[in-house]
């Protein structure tokens, strides 16, 4: 897609989307295909709409009764946070009264978004950031598949462990390193990259994050520069900062709320997914009956693209449309445009542009809402069901299943402690 046509498409989309109620919404039970793509033309990012028009992408529309607001406990905490928090000039989340960095927040820090507020975009991102950490910790064992025009190319398997220090439903834990979260991503196969691992400490404020990698060939831990965060992850279409659709440091971007509208939200499941106890991990895991996402390359007669999901569903949801531009001139991406759920503060899509402002690629992420047994009304945890990045320039995609019963998806494990995000753990992980 050329720069000009992408810009025109986007402008047209914005015009339509902002004219709320000016179009008919697709009904539950319908399927959006290249034959009826016009029904979704105000409900999808322009790049995704192009995929539909070309027949790459097919969207079954459903109706859902999911509570996207996070449950009564979370909603109550969000309401209580009203007026407590603010952003400093750099976009860092601070306590309004003291002006100090907020070290722990549970619930949305900005429950009331005023679209006319110049800081609205940044506040929405902080809501997203805090809301994703309600589950206390997350552990994913998943695969990432390289998919070309002709289908499957190769795959790697990874582990991704996240320990949150803010946003936690279980309350604060000791945080001597002053971090928002610590992430460990490691490759478990194939042989040539097995053992490659990165450890990220997302530190408070404007301090540079701590970022290390373990290289099995060297048998050493190496410190990495922040530029690696926007470098392609092992050559895939994702970069490190694409984890959870956006894992960049919010305060290192300029944020702008472009508008509000509705979007066909990608859902991993129509219903809340109850978690089951995993005694070994002392945590909660996704159940075996959760539907594993099947991509086009796995279905012989699938008519769409090999990288398109075949069994996810889409529901109409209110969305914010945001633009994030990196302050760091060295960051590989230019502006990114996000489609974020207005209640769940969960991003379903983003369009990535290069440093010259030309459209480059788009990412889709489905939402799975899970809950602990018996707590479906009080609190739900959001998580990514599928993640797919399609590079429109090269015609290449990377697909992964962060949540899948075929692998391992764990929440709130009491065994996942700070010790597992240390140098010792990183060295131990390797050969």
């Amino acid at each position: 897609m050329k720069k000009t046509s992408a810009a025109l498409c986007f402008a047209a989309w914005m015009f339509s989307a902002l004219a709320t109620g000016a179009f008919a919404l697709p009904k539950a039970g319908e399927t959006i295909t290249k034959e009826n793509w016009e029904e979704a033309k105000e409900l999808l990012p322009p790049s995704v709409l192009e995929w539909v028009k070309k027949g790459y992408y097919i969207l079954p529309v459903v109706e859902t009764q999911l509570n996207f607001k996070g449950g009564s406990k979370f909603e109550r905490a969000s309401r209580e946070n009203a007026g407590k928090y603010a952003l400093d000039a750099d976009g860092v989340l601070i306590e309004k009264a003291s002006g100090k960095i907020s070290e722990f927040v549970y619930g949305l820090p900005f429950p009331d978004i005023d679209p006319s507020d110049p800081q609205a975009g940044c506040k929405i991102m902080w809501n997203f950031f805090i809301a994703q950490m309600v589950s206390n910790s997350q552990q994913y064992w998943f695969d990432t598949v390289w998919v070309g025009q002709k289908g499957y190319e190769r795959r790697i398997e990874c582990l991704w462990y996240r320990l949150f220090f803010t946003g936690r439903s279980l309350g604060p834990i000791p945080n001597p390193d002053r971090c928002y979260f610590k992430d460990l991503i490691g490759v478990t196969s194939p042989y040539d990259v097995a053992g490659v691992a990165t450890l990220l400490w997302r530190v408070f404020g404007l301090e540079t994050d701590q970022f290390w990698s373990y290289a099995p060939a060297l048998r050493r831990v190496r410190k990495l520069p922040p530029a690696n965060a926007s470098d392609a992850f092992l050559g895939s279409d994702f970069c490190n900062d694409d984890a959870y659709l956006f894992r960049g440091k919010i305060q290192t971007f300029d944020w702008k709320l472009l508008g509000q509208g509705q979007v066909l939200a990608c859902l991993g499941a129509v219903n809340l997914q109850p978690l089951e106890r995993d005694d070994k991990a002392q945590g909660w895991r996704i159940r075996a009956d959760y539907p594993h996402v099947v991509f086009g390359y796995e279905v012989p007669d699938f008519k769409g693209a090999p990288w398109a999901p075949t069994n996810t569903v889409y529901a109409v949801r209110p969305a914010y449309i945001l633009e994030g531009t990196p302050k760091d001139p060295f960051y590989n991406y230019g502006k990114q445009i996000f489609w974020m759920d207005q209640e769940a503060f969960y991003p379903y899509y983003k369009m990535v542009h290069n440093r010259s402002g030309e459209y480059w690629k788009s990412m889709v992420q489905s939402l799975v809402l899970v809950h602990l047994p018996g707590q479906e009304k009080e609190e739900t945890y959001p998580g990514p069901g599928l993640q797919m990045m399609y590079d429109d320039r090269s015609g290449h995609a990377s697909c992964c299943h962060p949540t899948s019963p075929k692998f391992l998806t764990l929440y709130a494990s009491q065994k996942l402690t700070e010790d597992e995000f240390s140098m010792k753990a990183l060295m131990r992980a390797g050969k």
């Binding site: 040539d192 060297l218 520069p225 991990a281 240390s422």
Partner: protein, 512 residues
Amino acid sequence: MRGRSPAYVFALGILLCLPFWTRGAGALEWPETPIGDASLTGKIYTQAALRTQHSHGYTFPETNAGDLVQHRNFLQAEFKNVFSRELSFFFSTRIVYEGLYDYGPEKFEPYGHKGNDLDDGHMLFDNLLVDFREGYLDINRGPIFMRIGRQNLSWGEADLFRLLDQINPLDNTFGFLEDFDERRIPLDMIRLDLDFGNAAFVQGLLLEGFVALGKVQAPIAAYGTPFSAPLPATPIEVRLVEARQKEVRGGLRLMGLTRGVNWSLGHYWTYPDAPGGRFAFSRPGDALSLYQEIKFNREMITGGSFSFFTGLDTTQTMARGEFAYAWDEKMFDPVKNTPFGPTTIFVPPLGYIPLPFGPQEGTYPDAGILRWVLGLDNNIWIRFLNHKNTFLVSAQVYGQHILHNWSETYRLALPIYGKTDPLSPDYYVKLHKNEYQATLMINTYYMDGDLVPQIALAADYRNAWYLEPSIKYRYGNFELLLKYQFIDGNFTGIGIFRDRDQALMRITYLFP
């Protein structure tokens, strides 16, 4: 095992590993890695190298451009089982068949299949090597991590230069330009890590200690093999001083993070890869019983390392450094190592003056040597060449300074081609009090990570250099590597191999 075909060797390896086969999570052992699962991973490759120039000097046998100098067939299998969060097991084995001596140029045929007197457990120029590599238990409980068994351990921050990374010996018969990981010889070792967490001004304070037992020495590439040092044939018998079974390596390292700087300080005892040498007599004072004695001597090393992000956002540069002081390194000094010595004495204004002493045994002089490396790693976006991935540019400077017991007669144990008097220090390459080298490496990813071009350069300040362009292409589970190794300059450092330029191709299959 002479005469076995590569196919036989690979089949044997696969059969050995099959009983362990199950699907699993691979090499990591973090919590909640699916426990009880086991994994088998590995690689098989075949690698051939062709000389691209005629030999001139002490390369023996003499080779011509186009001669095959290596056809290695290699299988490595790694098995891992995670019994519980606290306990896991790792085992690796490999089979290497070097076809050069069976079907390569005839000139190499006499040099294959021989056991090596200088080695223990590593059949150096046997063309078939079945090698139990690593096998260890990991025990992890609270702040304690223990790894018990045969293993490798690498300390430090430097690439290519081994300052603190001298715990495991290197197999020099494997090719001096190969990855360290394939060349490291695992040791029977106990490694213990104690994590103190945050203490005072240090985040993640970690104390690591190791003790390694057993008489494992760095094998020397033997005369007549493609990786041997450029040395003339010697009529004098070479004897290796047998290492004692009780020999011990061991040390401690403290590491942590302070104000964004990762640092480490360590001290250990080890046996460096370069042995000491001298002339000695089987029967004291009897010149007819003269032989060359080769001995690996225990050495004490103290040093440290650091790495940090420079904070220069426009260049995104990481800085790293490492230093190591070798307290008592054995030096090659022909004046002191030779049997007739001192046959000459060095008098600065007059040079070497002969003295009429009778035969006597040589000695091993010691020196204190400081070595350091400073490196900068820079991930640079060159978007018109690659819009998706950075170019990694990694540069290092290496220095070596003899601070204690310096002697003008120290030499590299390498004779200069054309010189005729082996008793004269001038017969050997001079060692300077201060030596410097530099390296540069640049690489990036193309084609969604399938294509990795790289260029590596090493230069010695005494005008010797090495250039290695390479390209790696990945297709599914197969990998093709093409590499050219170009060496030139003076006869010192890497320049001692200046008549051995070669082109190399490797095809690898990765499993599963």
